[in-house]
């Protein structure tokens, strides 16, 4: 623990949580370092007010380069056509939809942390929720690009919305899961953005009050909406925040449920399964928490936030990973049981082909990364050592990407007609778009870390409890 940091005039905040009464064995502090309120303000906001360090610029240049590579690949796709991808008539969805589901899944942890953990009064969420929500928004942005590029003519993407048009008007097909996707993803994006912004208004007011230049003051005056910390406003604000959390909780579950219906409502063996919605939601939480861990472990190191994002936060997230990882593992087993129990030859063949066919390397990578390796989190030493968590979280990220690849490609490449069986190999353009989406994600995230407070200062101050006199 960091050295005591008393000041003469201000009472010392204590690291208090009543977990011991709720039966926790060991308690690690929520926020380390015995911080005062003004210390929190200073440490959270000063990063947004000075020039970023060299390592930030290096990271930004790497991710911007990746983003530009992706932009080049998207240009290739749009100008030359979808033929630049490795898709064929049998495998019509592959890298693009894999990446779409992968990014949507990653987005789920942010809302889960900000909404569900809020409803469950898990106060450890306070120091990670801002960054996790930002991650959600950027991940959904990355996810949204893939179906839009896959349309071939992305400038006509607005055709997917119901509006009076020149074609009849011919309305969108409200009975199609692909349209449900449009509504689910855009609602999710808008509500997550609103939630994120609303949670940030008090902190934006702090930025406004600290602003030194006129332009900065003007910008934050606009976005902080005249916030003055009034208790009447706080009272309404908390009500609305609670309502938004209550709305976001079913929303986050609905989003991946609907994404899974893109597959489950089809008749492709390996997709046509009622297990898909819960299986996808658990997988989304699993991959989302892995990505939060990856990002947070980098952020706390690079930005010296070890005292805010403590080992206790990391440990709590690893527990979520074990739980959801085992749900996902059970789903893998259940799929095999259902294939066998269905008595359907095609269904049986698809699953045998997954485990033993030409894509078996992808299947077993998935099982290893998602089911076997996370079991190491049962060891407390692993749960509380950041670099070990980091490595394991990378494995989970890789494994969950493979899960979507396995579901999509192995189901499609050999279905009913053996004469139509085909293999799929991604082209350089597809890989470049995928790398570009990481570039977009990290570019947005890095800019966010320097432009806005990464830690929800007003919430963190609320969990620094004062010693009772």
């Amino acid at each position: 623990m960091a050295p005591e940091n008393h000041t003469a005039t201000l009472p010392t905040p204590l690291l208090v949580e009543d977990e011991q009464e709720r039966g926790y064995g060991h308690v690690l502090p929520l926020i380390d370092g015995n911080k005062t309120y003004s210390q929190v303000t200073e440490e959270v906001f000063s990063t947004t007010e000075r020039m970023p360090p060299l390592k930030w610029w290096l990271a930004l240049s790497v991710s911007l380069s990746l983003f530009l590579l992706g932009a080049w690949a998207v240009t290739q796709t749009v100008t030359r056509g979808i033929g630049t991808w490795g898709l064929n008539r049998t495998v019509g969805w592959a890298f693009d939809i894999t990446n779409f589901v992968f990014w949507v899944g990653i987005g789920h942890a942010g809302t889960l942390i900000s909404a569900i953990l809020f409803l469950f009064r898990q106060r450890w969420r306070t120091s990670i929720n801002r960054a996790a929500e930002a991650m959600t928004i950027f991940a959904v942005m990355c996810a949204g690009t893939f179906p839009i590029i896959h349309m071939g003519r992305p400038w006509l993407a607005f055709w997917a919305t119901p509006y009076p048009n020149t074609r009849g008007p011919l309305w969108v097909n409200f009975k199609s899961p692909l349209l449900w996707d449009v509504f689910a993803i855009s609602t999710y994006f808008i509500i997550s953005l609103t939630f994120w912004y609303l949670g940030m208004v008090p902190d934006l007011a702090t930025m406004r009050d600290r602003a030194k230049t006129k332009i900065r003051k003007a910008i934050f005056s606009i976005f902080s909406l005249g916030w003055n910390g009034s208790n009447r406003t706080w009272s309404r604000y908390e009500t609305v925040y609670m309502l938004l959390a209550g709305l976001s909780t079913p929303l986050v579950i609905s989003v991946h449920t609907i994404v899974s219906m893109d597959f489950a409502t089809s008749v492709i063996p390996g997709w046509h399964a009622t297990i898909f919605p819960p299986y996808f939601v658990a997988g989304a939480v699993f991959s989302g928490f892995a990505m939060v861990l990856t990002l947070m472990i980098i952020a706390r190191n690079v930005m010296d936030l070890e005292e805010y994002i403590t080992v206790r936060h990391l440990e709590a997230m690893t527990k979520v990973i074990i739980a959801t990882g085992m749900i996902v593992g059970m789903a893998y087993g259940t799929e095999f049981f259902m294939a066998w129990y269905s008595g359907n030859d095609f269904e049986r063949y698809v699953f045998l082909n997954r485990a033993l066919g030409p894509f078996k390397w992808a299947y077993w990578s998935m099982v290893t990364c998602n089911v076997v390796i996370p079991q190491l989190f049962w060891i407390r030493k692993v749960r509380t050592t950041p670099w070990m968590i980091f490595i394991l979280s990378i494995f989970v990220n890789i494994g969950m990407w493979f899960e979507r690849f396995v579901i999509i490609v192995t189901s499609l490449h050999r279905d009913y007609l053996p004469s139509s069986w085909a293999m799929y190999t991604p082209t350089f353009v597809e890989v470049a778009i995928f790398l570009g989406s990481f570039g977009l994600f990290f570019t947005c995230f890095l800019i966010f870390t320097r432009l806005l407070p990464v830690i929800a200062a007003s919430e963190v101050k609320g969990v620094l409890k004062h010693e009772e006199h």
Binding site: N173, T187, D209, L225, N228, G229, W234
Partner: protein
């Protein structure tokens, strides 16, 4: 400041370093009878609502109302578009299939409830961009916990200051209704028309959508991007910047049936072109038994249905059904046409009724048909009477022979 008269200076505020002290101060002020205006803090202080006497917010009702609005809108739009405005059966499902409408309904309910309740919060708390924030204590968004209250009638500011200091206040100050505050409210007043416009926008959208109910389907809608309506159609021999060889037409794939190296005809449709063809083209085939029989085969298959087996328009298909009679091929008009012109009409169609058959009959066969038509004309020359079909030509389709 403190020397000014107390009549305008009836409000004060005191700041604390700790939320518990603030809560204590509010309770104490209430006890002593000072009307508490509000408290200001960097984070919500729990128990403060009860201490000030705030009732629970009514925003949840707004949330419910907006949610129901979203629900009704989603169901209404889906049912109206799918079952009434453009009824289209998809996948054999009923036009109104509620289970399939649930996902969109759910999403729109959440969307409107969420945006609506946040918008209601902004309206209820007057949250909008402000360049001068009213009642802002400089430290309140950092580490100060502030209470603002009115000075009780008859009480002195010194007494208030002492009371607050006793509760741990870091500073206590009188509040002035200064000009800055008035400026802020002036700004708010200016912002009102804007707020009104924002509130009226949804109503305007609804009004704009009303004409939808009474549309003229014959009139074409406006399109800002033609998209598929105006495709870029390349001609086979056009140059193309990005295709191999720099032209549109590419080497055909393996297995393509050859058209025997024919160069394209340099004619278009139309009477002038037909006359030009009549002057320029010569039948490359000589009359021979072989060419006649091929010509007859093609004629009987493709031409006789309208023009009659003898070219005399005696067709049971067209004339007997009262349709427009085709040209009489053995009439003097056609008889006087040059070969090239007949060939052109066969290829591109006639001026009125005939469609071009250039895509259906090979060029060679069309010339042979011209030869056969000449033969028909010769046969009909003395007098227009049916000529018995030559016995040495096999029937174009397998025939059982039982009916002949």
């Amino acid at each position: 400041m403190r020397s000014t008269d107390a009549i305008t200076l009836t409000r004060f505020r005191a700041s604390f370093a700790d939320p518990h002290q603030l809560l204590e101060a509010v309770k104490r002020l209430k006890q002593e009878g000072y009307p508490v205006i509000d408290t200001y803090s960097p984070f919500p202080v729990h128990g403060m609502d009860e201490a000030i006497g705030l009732k629970p917010s009514r925003l949840p009702r707004a949330c419910l109302a907006f949610g129901l609005l979203g629900l009704a809108t989603a169901l209404g739009v889906q049912i109206w578009t799918s079952a009434y405005d453009y009824p289209l059966i998809v996948g054999g499902k009923p036009l109104i299939s509620l289970p399939a409408f649930i996902p969109v309904t759910f999403e729109l309910t959440v969307l409107l409830a969420g945006l609506g309740v946040v918008g209601s919060l902004f309206v209820a708390s007057g949250m909008r961009p402000k360049f001068k924030v009213p009642d802002l204590h400089p430290g309140v968004n950092d580490d100060r916990f502030v209470v603002a209250a009115e000075i009780q009638a008859g009480a002195s500011f010194a007494g208030v200051e002492a009371l607050m200091a006793g509760l741990g206040a870091l500073e206590t100050e009188l509040l002035v209704d200064d000009k800055k505050q008035q400026d802020a409210s002036l700004l708010d007043r200016e912002a009102k028309p804007l707020a009104f416009l924002l509130a009226a926008a949804p109503a305007m959208l609804v009004l704009a959508a009303l004409p939808l109910l009474n549309r003229n389907y014959l009139k074409r809608n406006l399109a800002w991007d033609g998209g598929m309506m105006a495709p870029v159609a390349y001609q086979a021999f056009d140059p193309h910047p990005s295709l191999p060889g720099g032209q549109v037409l590419q080497k055909p794939p393996a297995g393509t049936v050859s058209r025997k190296g024919l160069v394209p005809l340099s004619y278009g449709p139309g009477k002038a072109e037909a006359e030009r063809a009549g002057l320029e083209l010569k039948n490359p085939f000589q009359p021979s038994q072989e060419n006649f029989s091929r010509g007859k085969l093609v004629y009987d298959r493709s031409c006789a249905a309208c023009h009659g087996l003898d070219g005399d328009n005696n067709s049971s298909v067209i004339v007997a059904r009262g349709l427009l009679a085709p040209a009489i091929l053995v009439a003097p008009v056609v008889r006087n046409m040059p070969d090239g012109r007949i060939f052109h009409v066969t290829t591109f169609g006639g001026p009125e009724k005939m469609k071009g058959l250039g895509d259906l009959i090979s060029r060679e066969d069309r010339w042979k048909v011209v030869l056969y038509i000449r033969e028909l004309q010769k046969a009909a020359a003395p007098k227009s009477s049916p000529v018995p079909a030559p016995a040495n030509v096999p029937a174009p389709t397998p025939s059982t022979g039982a009916t002949s």
